[in-house]
Symmetry: C2
């Protein structure tokens, strides 16, 4: 996908949050970067400040930690979603997680520095605050649902939920990633699947 097309797709999806007029869009665009993250390359790494928030035009990433030598995959992002190590990006402190491309992934990025410039640019400030608010609220809601599922549901129930709503994750992610995403081991998920079949 070329840069023009990517920017067009981005603008299209952005309109869920804010609509720029042409003059604003031209300035906004100057603060964007377009890049391809090759498969297995990192968008974020522990100990390193995550400088960008990205919008995935094509591809997918996974978020993972390493615990006792093992990779624990906690989250995924796909096309038309944002990706960032949010805490690291928002506070400009070292990331705690890896974010890795699972396929060649094309991203429109906004660096923290450019975001600050736009938040301080009178022409864009209001819409950027609004944009930031709506995106943060969107993810706040996602996380609220997810925390609530850990509190009130068993792993088996979380898997059943995923069967209803997790099309992308189920179809595109290997099962051992999904297991960790649900908070259990791959062996345990395999057993849950067998239990459900009966």
């Amino acid at each position: 996908m070329d840069t023009q097309k990517a920017l067009y797709v981005f603008r299209e999806h952005l309109e869920r949050y804010i609509v720029f007029n042409e003059a604003e869009w031209i300035v906004f665009m100057q603060h964007l970067t377009f890049r391809t993250l090759k498969k297995k390359r990192y968008f974020a790494e522990p100990g390193i400040v995550c400088k960008d928030i990205g919008f995935i035009v094509k591809g997918a990433v996974r978020y993972y930690h390493i615990k006792e030598g093992e990779e624990i995959t906690g989250y995924f992002s796909f096309e038309n979603e944002f990706v960032s190590s949010y805490k690291s990006y928002l506070t400009q402190s070292p990331s705690l997680t890896y974010i890795q491309a699972l396929e060649d992934t094309e991203l429109v990025g906004i660096s923290h520095k450019d975001m600050q410039l736009m938040l301080n640019n009178p022409m864009l400030a209001y819409k950027m605050e609004r944009f930031g608010r709506l995106v943060a609220e969107h993810y706040l809601i996602c996380y609220e649902d997810r925390v609530s599922s850990f509190i009130t549901k068993t792993p088996e129930e979380r898997y059943l939920d995923l069967l209803n709503t997790g099309r992308d994750i189920l179809q595109r992610m290997p099962q051992h990633y999904i297991a960790h995403y649900l908070g259990i081991t791959p062996v345990s998920l395999s057993r849950i699947r067998r239990r459900i079949l009966v």
Copy 2:
């Protein structure tokens, strides 16, 4: 605590996010309500749209679901924190959880309607967008940490974390609430505590 004092405390803490000049503050104040929620009364209930976001001046609340006849406490808010059934408030859809006062609790509230009025009032719009963004980002980070603890930590590790950082929760909440907050049963938490002592 009287209304004046409560508003003063609120303004003080708000300055973490935004600073109003006097003219703005006077208008902003007109969109606030001050009320006391008696112990055991509800700030939010399942099936009912949560109309307010509250700032707790004094007191504490717990968030809980009912599952198979049992109350599962998932979260708490204390003095100088916000309280809301966020998804319900942000989307004006029915709440999924109860939010109940654990003590007589004094709140400064902003109704969804008043928030919209302020977001559409040119005098306040920019600062309100910014306020909304910063609050949402704050809670986004809290939730990110919490999800990550469910993915990468055992219940015992989550309890040990709480011993380090959860002063308010540990000192003011009964242990069976804490257990559910950690995603386990009260019996299990009691065992973990014994394990740790040895």
